[in-house]
Symmetry: C5
Subunit: 321 residues, 5 copies
């Protein structure tokens, strides 16, 4: 699906335009244009590529489904590969957003419907109404900022789940959380691997200001850069926390083993001692005075109880039972 | 709450000024001004922002509650995000302090009452009395120095608690300290994540001397930089120590398991051996000479005691009991 | 085996040429030449080396079987050591491909038949037909791109095997997978050690454009560079996953030990308790009323059953059995 | 305590001078002066600071007891914070040595008596007699070299203790060495944290030759730099060794547990089997032919012995006992 | 022992010269000279140092027995500290080779007889005969190349031993290999610590070509540099492998413990169950019908066998025995 949003300096408003007029619109001056393609077919990509004469390698990248965030500068425009992030019950997912940014246009490709795209369009319309046209740099900033802002709820969600794991470990040790930890680690790694190269992209935008951005945009790109640093910090923090959970769990399991073995030892000793008394009075010696006592049997039972209770108390005392 | 402290070169003293006069004071020359906002409302932030015409992104950062320490240079002023640190029984906390520094003013925003702010104001008053006006660089140094100095007692507190943990591990192994270690690690990480970017901020102040600082301030900023390096060193040292405590604890738990299992083995063997004797004399063979001996029973009990004591001594010797 | 492929600007087509004419062909202008040597003999290497007057150190490298990917620039040509990757049931293998690239020729040496070489030749022929001669840079790109593209299926295969291991660990713990993990780690390391230096090679090609490549090729080399970054990312991801599998396995084994020891403890206690009853009624006291009861025997058996079942239920409840 | 050593070019000898003459001596030309303060009082520091007009921040650092090695360059002199190292039975200690170096003087502050200071003074006297005055650079080199040379015996001592630990682990596993390892690690870390920044100090001295050092001194400072690199190498090596000892110890403890559990299993099986025989012949069946045999009892004992010995041999064979 | 090898341009051959003529030879022009000192006495070092007027610090380094590989540039010559490597049954050893290289001479110091020195001399003689004089750079390359080539068999030997350890771990777990692993790790570390700084030395030779080397030598030094990179790669690979062996071993030991404990549990349950039967029929109840059965005894034995075999089969099935 192709959507064309057009800002004409004369009209001082942003309007939607039909796709068919695109070649003609591109030729006009004093226009700021945003072409957004959702889940485009190869034909649509090729058509758009021809209208703006994009480099075939960049177009190939928009079709690939697993590329690294990057910025490639071509003559007259730049290609930026970025990611949006969503999370659901099945975990978090990264959605590739490929951006071409020129002096008077921005073209975006993405596979799935992303709410941030619509939000950005809405905010752009409002901003233009309020502030007048501010060039492609400001539009690019709005989009990148919206994408990066979307990482924080995802990380918060992951951190929350990590904290639940931590709680459950400290409350008793649950060795089967291994699968959960691995899942969280994988999601954190995924974010880390997206945010790291994206930071480099923002660094390029901050340091080398291409001709189609003014000086003013640098502060804005710096802002996105700072947010990405914070994303990376948070991810590292949570990863560190997960490592701590793993350590704690291992300690817990070892501790539990100690507890169980102590109980095994204690109860073995108690039962064996009592059994020994029974064994002794089961011997067949001719001369065993206790056997003939009137209350010999009660004496034996009492002796067993005495031994059992004493040992039980001793083991209780040294915390083995 | 907004507090305005004013140093007028003519008066050679520092006076408090009412907030209402602020726009007029800012316009005056030959003045050094400190505006301090404690837990400001959005309206107060906006008002102050307008008086000094600060960049909206920087003002946004002063309202955000979790930003990375950084320095952003704008035309005519710089924005510095820094942190103060306090510790209480519940652990240590970082308090964001946002600073705008211009040629003749410093504006500070912070959410909570921080003693170091008042201390800095007091010291500034004394210094100005003693040394005359020394420009915004010296005021900024006083504040940053006071903030960073405040990290050391926090780290000392954490190190002390880590040493207690270490002691308690070496005195017997306490696997349940896992929760404590994780808490300390998290606090250290928090300090590390604040001090690292702050070091970069100081580095910028030392290397690139902005127009509103003189050459003389560099030595002072270098001093704060050195203190931050020491903060980071201490944090790393304590983290390393905690890792050692974890290792030691794991070793201790394993060692204890060995001890318990040895005791289990020893006592099982002793009790089973004695029981065996009772079992033998419980057999019903017609021809068992011992059974008819006068002191057969005593002989059996003696045999049991002999076996038990011998084994006990053997296991004692090889340190299994 | 030596194969000579020749593109003559006049003929506008690519033809195979006999080896004997090589010295004469090299002398011609307006020609683009690819000489490919499969498993060459030292004599063949020496002969080709003489025709193009390659440096003896570079020729030595083509004969060595285990060199690091690198680019060495000589006067008039560059020597590039690269690797192709194949995988089979026995694991994955790296195949050295040594490339000399000059202004109008490319010479390649490799020990084994590599499908990508033939594919590159075929694609070159098609491209020349379609696009005209594009110089040695484009030919080099085609070859390097084909080699690097070949890494992805190998990594996918390894990742798949790692995921199977992960599954099998989470489904019960299989400590003997150690050998498999070590094998996968070794293969990943091997790819990592090839891809890392290759990235540096591509970086050289992107940054310093030697005289025999035009500006246009840079975007293409950048593309290969990006793919290598992705290779390295994937390898690191899978290595991290394997580390997680190891951790999970260790946890699993510890957990299983706990389970087994709990069962040992439970069943010991149950059997010993029952045996104790039998021991008690095996005592030889003269006065033991139960012994004379009509249903004393059944009472004893019932008592045993009662104790056994009760304990069994208790242990079942606390999840020890 | 303040000691003043003076080299007057005219006298061609080094003489001790009374502290009172210091201000007058400093004013003289053609003099090389070393002022050494052992455990100075704040008043002494202030007095010396005034004579040479040192920067207040640097003087503050000389009073602080835990600063990072560094070099601060002021106008006309440099401040160097360095450390000497001593070791005794209680472990190794670092002693701060603060140095001011100017064109014709060196001032040193240290808290404790350090033998290396006296040695350096003695050597300086000898050298001046032999070689003539060689400027402050050579004197500084003599001191730094002596300080750094003093690290090697400390490291050797630590390495020796680490090797003893290693030996004792490989000879049987001693889980309680945890405390020793932590102590050694802490000492190594302490040296590492001193030597690292000192290397940076030496690097500054080698790269940027301040006006008061000649070209000739660079080779000497490079020598100290190389020694510090070697110190760091040694520390890392020993740390790595300690990590190995920890791993080895953990393995040892696990191995020992296996051995103990095998013994437990073996002896349980043997004793239980023998007891079973006794149990069988303790049954009260009316018809049990063995009971009436003449040598039934001996037969039973023999059977027990046979079973016990056989099992013992089997377990010995599979190395479980 | 001092050996002097001399190449005189007029004679076009290399001849041995007596040590006494050295001062005279050094003065001659058009000569290429190699002075090789095996295990030199301090007097010999001093004498040679005087002939070539070497810096005292460099001469000191040649006497020290444990210096880091490095290159120090002095006026008119460079000092290079390098290492040769040998391996024997007791492990591998590094042998210091100290080299002074000037415009027309090379002086080498080494403590032990090193075969590579003689090989280099022989090769030099042959090369000079074949190629004519090629200056000190080529001679230096020949020596460094020979030294570095000597590292590969040492690493191969270590890798082989590591692979044997791996094999033995995967075939059953051998916790006592700890000592072997530590030995191999120490040797690898030793090579790593030599090869790392040597790579930096080669880098200096490749980047900054001192006046006494021509452009042509750079390719050769680059070759040695590449070999050192490969050495470092191999060492890292083998270290990684050893870490894997350690992990595998730990897993193996844990797994074995599980197996042993399962066997303990199984055999305890079997023996206790059987003993229980004997205990039951050892009870002294007056009314126990089985006791009076004709084949009661056989019935009891059969019951025991039945229980034992059944349990045995069950445990076999769930793989506990």
């Amino acid at each position: 699906m192709i959507k064309v949003i057009l800002h004409n300096n004369d009209q001082k408003a942003i309007i939607d335009a039909p796709v068919e007029q695109l070649p003609e619109i591109v030729a006009r001056e004093h226009t700021m244009l945003w072409v957004d393609l959702t889940d485009p077919t190869p034909d649509e990509v090729a058509a758009i590529g021809q209208v703006f004469s994009f480099h075939p390698l960049a177009l190939e990248d928009t079709m690939a489904d697993d590329i690294r965030p990057k910025i490639d500068q071509y003559e007259g425009y730049a290609f930026i590969a970025f990611y949006g992030m969503t999370h659901s019950r099945e975990g978090c997912r990264a959605h590739s957003v490929d951006i071409f940014i020129g002096t008077n246009y921005m073209v975006t490709f993405h596979d799935s419907e992303l709410p941030v795209i619509d939000e950005t369009a809405t905010r752009w319309k409002q901003n233009v109404a309020a502030l007048g046209n501010r060039g492609p740099g400001f539009l690019l900033y709005s989009l990148l900022d919206a994408l990066v802002e979307g990482y924080f709820p995802v990380i918060d969600e992951i951190t929350e789940r990590a904290e639940e794991l931590e709680e459950s470990v400290l409350n008793g040790g649950a060795p089967l959380l291994q699968g959960n930890i691995m899942q969280l680690r994988r999601e954190l790694l995924m974010i880390r691997r997206v945010a790291g190269p994206e930071r480099d992209v923002m660094n390029v935008l901050v340091r080398r200001d291409p001709p189609y951005f003014g000086k003013k945009e640098v502060a804005y790109f710096q802002d996105v850069y700072d947010h990405l640093l914070r994303v990376i910090d948070s991810v590292d923090l949570t990863r560190d926390m997960l490592a701590g959970v793993l350590d704690a769990n291992l300690s817990m399991v070892s501790y539990n083993l100690n507890v169980v073995v102590k109980r095994l030892t204690s109860s073995s000793i108690i039962l064996m001692s009592i059994t020994l008394v029974a064994g002794i009075y089961g011997m067949n010696f001719v001369h065993m005075p206790e056997l003939d006592w009137q209350f010999g049997y009660l004496f034996a039972l009492g002796l067993m109880a005495l031994i059992g209770v004493t040992e039980f108390l001793v083991f209780k005392r040294i915390d083995w039972l």
